[in-house]
């Protein structure tokens, strides 16, 4: 078996899950560790449900099997629930308190669970719930939401915070380095208390 630390990042196409997974990959390189990942490309990105798999110290395939994930980072409440079966029983969840309803809910009048119902269902796992949108604005840009999420998850990730911050600095646009470092630190502080 692989012995890897398996992280699933999920959300909606366009929310920045790919940058978050790139930061994790870069941080692994900084630490000289192997890493494997897989992500959604092509038309599936157009507002659809997207998933990035990252296997830290992974040597083999890029896909995490259901029930094997160590950590689930979700940018949306509904997507957290959709992918929750990928977590181990003792796996951890870091979830943005944000719910975008699929358009099908309005056009086809489909039933949808309420925020509270979703949160209740997620509590089956160790759950860290945060308002990443608000924290990102406080850090200086709503676009740093994905880095806030990563920061909040970072206490559970077996990579040093220095490596993660270095990876953030390498990968975000030059003009936004300060904002993103702040976003990471705010997220990390919050995540440490979860």
């Amino acid at each position: 078996m692989s012995g890897s630390f398996d992280i699933l990042i999920v959300g909606i196409g366009g929310q920045g899950t790919i940058l978050a997974s790139n930061i994790l990959g870069e941080a692994c390189l900084i630490e000289g560790r192997h890493v494997k990942g897989a992500e959604t490309h092509g038309m599936a990105q157009r507002g659809g449900s997207v998933e990035s798999h990252i296997r830290i110290d992974g040597l083999y395939g890029p896909l995490i099997p259901p029930g094997q994930g160590d950590l689930l980072i979700s940018f949306d409440l509904l997507e957290a629930l959709r992918y929750s079966h990928f977590l181990k029983n003792e796996g951890k969840m870091v979830v943005n308190r944000h719910l975008v309803l699929p358009t099908s809910v309005f056009t086809q009048k489909l039933p949808v669970p309420t925020q509270d119902e979703i949160i209740e269902a997620l509590k089956k796992h160790s759950l860290c719930l945060l308002d990443a949108d608000k924290m990102a604005e406080e850090a200086g840009s709503p676009l740093s939401q994905n880095v806030v999420m990563l920061g909040a998850a970072s206490p559970s990730i077996p990579i040093s915070p220095e490596s993660l911050i270095n990876a953030v600095k390498r990968l975000v646009p030059k003009k936004t380095v300060d904002i993103n470092v702040k976003a990471f630190e705010m997220g990390r502080e919050f995540g440490g208390k979860c």
Binding site: M1, S2, I12, G13, S21, N22, G25, E26, C28, L29, R33, H34, V35, K36, G37, A38, E39, T40, H41, G42, M43, A44, Q45, R46, G47, G48, S49, G58, L59, Y60, G61, P62, L63, P65, P66, G67, Q68, L78, E79, L81, R82, S84, H85, F86, L101, P102, T103, S104, V105, F106, T107, L110, P111, V112, P113, A121
Partner: protein
């Protein structure tokens, strides 16, 4: 060059630069597109690179460059190889002088495709070597060797990564870039390059004579290798081999296939040393067929006797399941996993402000009981709006429409096709429809870009793959040249205008073309176009739901009123649809 964390396609692109490639062509298609998307903007490119209009055109260009002694790469998705199959089959006869690598990316599970065909079958059919990487690192390392192999045997090499290679990521050890040779020279040799019957019979024999040495060489190069550990064995290929390696129990022998054709003698020796063989591979039973040919009385478990599936993609869970069924694992170590049931699905959807949605809306308004053949592009998502009745392959909208027309169905037929698809293989269908007197309306959804695969330019965009200016084709003149007399261009954001033109087309007989022109909303955003945003005045909104049924992701409904969320791109179509005028531009009363 060191180690980097890269997407599979980025690693493949880098390996091409390390191989001194001089000529690159292709047509975008998921999961292959990023290879050229990386190469066309590479900072120190010394090679020629183009997006071609289709895969046949791309391959013929690349073949000619390889004849001139320039290392060439041609990329496409698996179904693109169907389009390129005509030159492919005979390129095996003519051969090449410099290396020609044809990357045909397969898509098991059809994540982004119309079928699950297997490019290895084409390699078999054409008698060409095929490399089938099991990991990103191997995909990277195979590329320089594919060029060498191509030159050694004088044959094009098919390189066949799958979605989980192309769109996976990993740490990859890279080599140094090498400047490619661009000074090609064509040496005339009619017996090689003019495939009249007298020449081609000789070339066919030569192709067949290359096969035994080729099979041996692929083993020598280490693409196909094995390790004997016990009395039972697993033989696996592609990414399936990687999954097997993660969970194979000790005491089970393992053979990895990464290249075709397989040396049967070599495989037979291995197989006959075992009492039971399990074959694990994605899609067609390409390896399994060979195993069965050499197995004699050794039992072989695979797709043909129901141990593994012909469809879909493999995963660790699926491979463990096959190994359990075949008695190689006592118990599948991975739990089934119970997804939460009955959550509303979140499929991909046309963007807020997409021109296709408003064009479809107008089509449906004018042609209520019509038949709607469509094509391959973002607009295939029009299925959700009930205006896509057929999709087969690139260019098969106009042809299906004319076929239905001549079959005698008396309903109106309105087909939709994107600009890039029209230029790919749609023009011939239009020419044929006019020539043979079909009675159809063709709507060309013209967003001036190949949007679905990642916004690659095409002859309609006014620039080349590398951003150089090039004359934008006139779709209007092209359609008129095909003999269409009713050709109208219209802005699909103007619902009234588009409805008027469609009504006019409905009255006429013959082939009518309407060009619905509007920039892709993603390109517009990138170009800095800001149309402002719209909002619903809750005092005027009656909650009738007209705007909600339009299906735009920027429109929500809560407390019996519609509301516009921050995805709004300002196309203003919903404001035109609202019967009470409740949707207004932000900042206005």
């Amino acid at each position: 060059m060191g180690r980097k964390y890269l997407l599979g396609n980025e690693a493949i692109a880098h390996a091409c630069v390390e191989s001194g490639v001089g000529f690159i062509s292709g047509y975008p298609g998921t999961p292959s597109s990023e290879v050229i998307d990386v190469l066309r903007v590479h900072p120190d490119r010394s090679y020629y690179v183009e997006w071609s209009v289709n895969e046949k055109v791309a391959l013929e260009n690349a073949l000619a460059a390889a004849w001139c002694g320039v290392r060439s790469l041609c990329t496409m998705k698996h179904v693109g190889l169907n389009v390129a199959s005509d030159p492919l089959m005979t390129s095996a006869y003519t051969g090449v002088t410099a290396g020609l690598v044809i990357m045909s990316a397969d898509d098991p599970f059809a994540h982004s495709s119309q079928n699950e065909q297997d490019s290895r079958c084409y390699a078999h059919f054409a008698r060409l070597p095929c490399l089938d990487p099991a990991s990103i690192q191997e995909a990277h390392d195979m590329i320089p060797e594919a060029f060498t192999l191509s030159e050694e045997f004088g044959l094009p090499v098919i390189f066949r990564p799958t979605t989980r290679i192309c769109h996976s990521k990993g740490d990859v050890d890279l080599g140094e870039p090498v400047a490619g040779l661009r000074k090609g020279e064509f040496h005339k040799d009619p017996r090689q390059y003019v495939v009249i019957p007298a020449h081609t019979r000789v070339l066919h024999k030569k192709l067949n004579e290359k096969q035994p040495a080729l099979r041996k060489r692929l083993v020598e190069r280490g693409y196909n290798h094995h390790k004997i550990e016990g009395s039972t064995a697993i033989i696996a290929s592609g990414i399936g081999a990687t999954y097997v390696q993660e969970i194979i129990p000790t005491g089970v022998s393992f053979m990895k296939i990464g290249a075709y054709p397989i040396d049967e003698e070599w495989m037979g020796d291995f197989v006959r040393k075992h009492e039971k063989i399990l074959v694990i591979e994605e899609l067609a039973p390409e390896v399994e067929e060979t195993v069965r040919q050499v197995a004699g009385c050794v039992p072989v478990l695979g797709k043909k006797n129901g141990y593994a599936s012909y469809e879909g993609e493999l995963s660790l869970l699926a491979v463990a399941g096959i190994m359990e069924k075949a008695g190689f694992l006592k118990k599948n170590p991975f739990p089934e996993g119970n997804p939460v049931q009955q959550l509303p699905p979140r499929p991909p959807i046309l963007c807020a402000g997409c021109l296709h949605r408003s064009a479809f809306y107008a089509i449906k308004k004018v042609f209520k009981d019509a038949i709607y053949p469509s094509d391959i592009g973002c607009y295939t998502l029009g299925l959700q709006l009930g205006v896509v009745d057929t999709t087969i392959c690139m260019g098969a909208s106009i042809t299906v429409a004319s076929g239905i027309s001549h079959a005698g169905d008396t309903r109106d037929i309105v087909c939709t096709i994107g600009d890039s698809t029209f230029l790919h293989t749609g023009i011939q269908g239009l020419l044929n429809a006019v020539y043979n007197g079909a009675d159809i309306t063709v709507v060309i959804l013209d967003n001036r870009i190949t949007a679905m695969t990642g916004h690659q330019p095409n002859p309609n965009s006014g620039m080349t793959a590398c951003g150089a200016e090039s004359p934008a084709v006139s779709l209007d003149a092209l359609c008129r040249a095909c003999g269409v007399s009713f050709v109208e261009s219209v802005n699909p954001y103007d619902i009234t205008g588009m409805v008027t033109v469609l009504q006019e087309a409905k009255k006429r007989k013959g082939v009518k073309v309407i060009i619905a022109k509007q920039m892709c909303v993603i390109s517009a955003r990138r170009a800095g176009i800001n149309r402002g945003r719209y909002r619903v005045n809750p005092e005027i909104c009656t909650g009738c739901g007209t705007c909600v049924r339009f299906g735009c992701p920027a429109i929500e409904f809560a407390d019996e009123k519609a509301l516009v969320n921050d995805l709004c791109s300002g196309c203003a179509v919903c404001a035109q649809l609202c019967p009470t005028g409740a949707i207004v531009r932000e900042g206005k009363k």
